[in-house]
């Protein structure tokens, strides 16, 4: 075998050995941390869904009662929507929509909208957003209680025509200097409520 060939072979061998060692290191860490990571994700999901079910009594594991509304749909956003259903003694009591408002000031706003059987909003929470810190982040419940104004609202109170910001002739408070952000959130919640009214039975009956 020529010198050149030998050198290529040994280089390949060294690479293979080091790759095998590195891969086993990652595999080992993965198997050690796997259970904890799954548990953390479950806890995080539960913890982020719970606030949107304020005042609702339920006894099921939300992560197990989830359905996907695939495209095309009339909900806000351009991706499939996850709906978590809260059950109490196997009777559906509320639905949680994970929708996306695309018309925020800087990027999509991911919203969690909880609606009970009667079409009344239990609570809404912003899961993820990229609005300007200090200006548009009032929609985050940890920054201000603005998002709480939607609690106990439905399409009949206020009526559909007034489901908008005060400056647009509606009922909801806007934040000065951030009306684009406020408007996007209000619109997304309204569209979710309209969708819920039209599809209530299919959402609650599907198993």
């Amino acid at each position: 075998m020529s010198e050149n060939k030998k050198s290529i072979l040994s280089a390949g061998l060294i690479l293979a050995v080091i790759a095998a060692i590195c891969t086993s290191l990652v595999a080992l860490t993965f198997s050690v941390t796997k259970a904890r990571i799954v548990a953390n994700e479950q806890a995080w999901l539960e913890q982020s869904l719970k606030p949107a079910l304020a005042g609702v009594q339920y006894d099921n594991n939300l992560a197990e009662s989830v359905m996907t509304i695939s495209l095309p749909h009339e909900l806000p956003g351009n991706e499939p929507v996850l709906v978590y259903r809260a059950l109490f003694e196997n009777e559906p009591v509320a639905a949680l929509f994970v929708v996306t408002a695309l018309d925020g000031f800087s990027g999509p706003i991911r919203l969690l909208v909880g609606i009970d059987r009667g079409g009344i909003v239990t609570a809404t929470r912003v899961l993820r957003h990229r609005e300007t810190p200090g200006l548009g982040d009032f929609i985050d419940s940890s920054k201000s209680d603005w998002i709480d104004q939607f609690e106990r609202k439905s399409l009949s109170s206020p009526d559909v025509l007034h489901w908008s910001l005060r400056r647009d002739g509606g009922q909801f408070d806007q934040v000065t200097g951030a009306s684009i952000t406020s408007r996007a959130v209000v619109k997304a919640i309204k569209e979710t409520l309209i969708y819920f009214e039209a599809n209530r039975d299919s959402i609650f009956e599907a198993q």
């Binding site: 060294i14 080091i18 590195c22 990652v26 300007t132």
Partner: protein
């Protein structure tokens, strides 16, 4: 080179962030609070120390033509392990740092140390170099994080619970009307510029104190 000397060099004279200006992408992006800076700083120290150790330990097999793929393999596996460990033990911090944990792979300070130091030195000096350079980077992350958090959020040491567990900590509120720009991207550039300038001023003062005069 003595240990003290090389640590001093890593922390101050050749600080990877302040002097070599390496790893600016994570440095500018995550330093909006102190705890983010500290979290990424610790992750960087661990990766840099381990990668220096492994590169140095395998240096006799590191042939010139395959050294870069080997650095990439070692650094990428270490970062994946760190990411998994963060997800398992500091989930809140992992969510807050987001993509910047996996992106430690692309922190050029790490490859730079592997290439210029660890591949030419014994294991123990390489480990010391890794700790020193990592700490130099981490200290800068913490300093800029604390500075921006104080100005932009008006708090000190908020959300330390993400690293140490327990109930959410609001931190000490110092300013009631925070200066928003500090936590926006331009604030990161201004803060880094101020830090680099401050280091130059301190160095120059020291030189003068030592009786050193620039000949004109």
């Amino acid at each position: 080179m003595s240990t003290g000397n090389s640590i001093r060099k890593a922390l101050w004279d050749e600080n990877p962030g302040l002097v070599q200006l390496l790893g600016l992408c994570p440095l500018l992006a995550v330093t909006s609070t102190f705890v983010n800076g500290l979290g990424l700083g610790i992750a960087t120290i661990v990766v840099l120390t381990c990668s220096n150790m492994l590169v140095s330990a395998t240096r006799r097999w590191l042939r010139a033509e395959i050294r870069i793929p080997i650095y990439v393999l070692i650094i990428a596996s270490l970062v994946t392990c760190i990411e998994l460990l963060f997800k398992a033990y500091f989930p809140a911090l992992d969510r807050s740092l987001g993509i910047f944990i996996p992106l430690i792979v692309t922190n050029c300070a790490i490859v730079a140390r592997a290439e210029t130091f660890a591949s030419k030195n014994r294991v123990i000096p390489s480990v010391i170099d890794g700790i020193g350079m990592g700490a130099g980077f981490a200290l800068l992350l913490c300093a800029i994080g604390a500075f921006r958090e104080l100005l932009g959020h008006g708090t000190i040491l908020s959300r330390l619970d993400m690293l140490f567990g327990g109930d959410p900590i609001g931190g000490l509120v110092i300013l009631d009307n925070p200066f928003l720009l500090a936590i926006l991207p331009p604030g990161a550039f201004f803060s880094l510029a101020l830090a680099v300038a401050a280091k130059k001023v301190i160095d120059r003062r020291r030189q003068r104190a030592a009786g050193f005069r620039l000949s004109i």
